[in-house]
Symmetry: C3
Subunit: 273 residues, 3 copies
Amino acid sequence: MTDTPSPIHAGDRLARMRETAPLVHNITNDVSMNFLANVLLAVGASPAMVQANEEVGEFAALADALAINIGTITAPQATAMETAVDAARSADTPWVLDPVALGATAYRRELGSRLVELGPAVIRGNASEILTLAGAHAAGRGVDTGDTVTAAETGADALARHTGAVVAVTGPEDYVTNGVRALRIANGHAMMPRVTAMGCALTGVVAAFVAAGGMPLEDTAAALAGFAVAGEHAGERAAGPGSFAVHFIDALYTLDPATLDAGAHIRADRPRG
Amino acid sequence: MTDTPSPIHAGDRLARMRETAPLVHNITNDVSMNFLANVLLAVGASPAMVQANEEVGEFAALADALAINIGTITAPQATAMETAVDAARSADTPWVLDPVALGATAYRRELGSRLVELGPAVIRGNASEILTLAGAHAAGRGVDTGDTVTAAETGADALARHTGAVVAVTGPEDYVTNGVRALRIANGHAMMPRVTAMGCALTGVVAAFVAAGGMPLEDTAAALAGFAVAGEHAGERAAGPGSFAVHFIDALYTLDPATLDAGAHIRADRPRG
Amino acid sequence: MTDTPSPIHAGDRLARMRETAPLVHNITNDVSMNFLANVLLAVGASPAMVQANEEVGEFAALADALAINIGTITAPQATAMETAVDAARSADTPWVLDPVALGATAYRRELGSRLVELGPAVIRGNASEILTLAGAHAAGRGVDTGDTVTAAETGADALARHTGAVVAVTGPEDYVTNGVRALRIANGHAMMPRVTAMGCALTGVVAAFVAAGGMPLEDTAAALAGFAVAGEHAGERAAGPGSFAVHFIDALYTLDPATLDAGAHIRADRPRG
């Protein structure tokens, strides 16, 4: 992509995450649970799915990070999410929001509006989801985006400034911003959107990387780069999305920091607006 | 099987389905969600799992088809299913019913009886499930059938006439009927029943094919043929049901219309009774 | 390991289980459902996941074994578990308890305390979970153990004597005890803990083996040995945890009794205390 040296060392951040093997508490959708857990184990984190309102607060307080995903939301799960987020905030534990298919229904938009005000460390979504959160009219219909990453950049910057969160818009090229600085990651493989729960799993990986705290923009970019480089490795061997998913888990597991640094295409950019 | 030309062009129907990439709304069981979503993505449709009663109506109205599967039914999910079906009917969106393990409990039989009266475009089940819906005594115990497809044909025809739905009885040879005309599909692989959620995933694929509307008998038969031919391709490479599932997703993804037409064994038949 | 002849014939027990293809009713967590069902199908059992309180009693009474796993417990699911256990007891159907992450929250500890008094045939957990159930202070944090199998043996023996259950502590070497006799199984592969839901799937396999009733200590040990030997076979071919999971399902499916007997390292031991 460029000969400019990478603005961040993704490999170092991967190595540091693995050393601590952060316990990531996920309240997520039923489609992604198994794949997300396997992705987190493969990358070197420790996943846990705990969702009863009676215990999510206690568990969120002892976890290293919390990931919230509204993909197959139900009313009891929404209540548990707010309980868990409150406990995470009290314990100073970073939490990450994945606003799946946010624009699809009024129920989702309202829940998203409430959650986004509760101080996520990172918001990760596709372009349509980020545009909806940012208040712009978005084109997504189901869980897939109807908008390009580029179209969502201004909205992402504004959302980051409004919420204080790092906002990651993922797609063929990812855009990550804290409203002041921005990074672009140009990695990945065309088969990734043909495997379900890829975005959800990525959100969990972002949570694992930001668990250490302190540099959420850089940690998010490193997570996105690691995920996308593993996708490239998987793509070299896959015969279709079934074998892609298998190779992808293997690639995350075998990804070493030096290979990540050699393969990552990360560059700094200026936020808009 | 036969030198008679196929009564339908399954390949054309696959190509048409892929062109529109229908948004299929699934309210399904927790076992199948991930596999079903991956199957729908691989075959070329766009899956979404939305299940809260607060939003299923809104979502079902914007989807292109709705698939209902009672495999791990709970009371809130049953309520959401009826809400979603009502909305689909109002929007003239076809919906498909998968009456998993219908005969196992009184609760399931009652729910199935209610749902079947709500005008599904297609009912897809194994022989025991269709016999139970048709009111005959059936031999299934868990989720597996205890009856042969042949034994369920008369019941399937009667059920089709009573409900106005296309009824698909799937097994080693599939039987699809609208009560007036019937089709048989003689494809598939012996390892398919050894992979969980294969039937549930097939129901989702049927929903994708009938999304366009108009010819549910032919579209259902094309969906069944495409699914079963992909199973044959997977069976050529599999060392067991684990690798079978992986190759199956790849085979659905790479299946082209001409290969489907060359491999599909579909023949017309007369309904019974 | 040893030249002493194995105290049990695991292969015979695998063959007998396959002949009956027991219907295993699972009320389990959302992470493991699909993998558990595929594992049970691969090993030769018939899995069913039925979880509504309205029907679990009726279903548990007709199943051959019941497996209870609290991994992603919710209040309605806890109620359904108790209903199902009551029905299984009335029908003299063996049931197996998997106390996932028992020590993590007060809610889990209370539920575990209630369930353990309801007469499980087998309790299967990692060292931290068994220590928590046994009332000792345990070191597990999320779903992973913080204790060694050896540290949990005395607690396991005491728990077996208190409850009348067979207690299986699984880890690099498994320890199975009924409080009077104990068996050790030294098989398995280092990649097994890197695949999510491996323990949950093992619990389902234990339920399949004890379905026949009569010798729960030996049947549990045979289930553990079969699972772990399949893990060794998978480990020979895997490039990471993604391909491990696929090969593992294939290995369970192709595992024959003679190969199991040749590979199983089972030895008798004396309980502690």
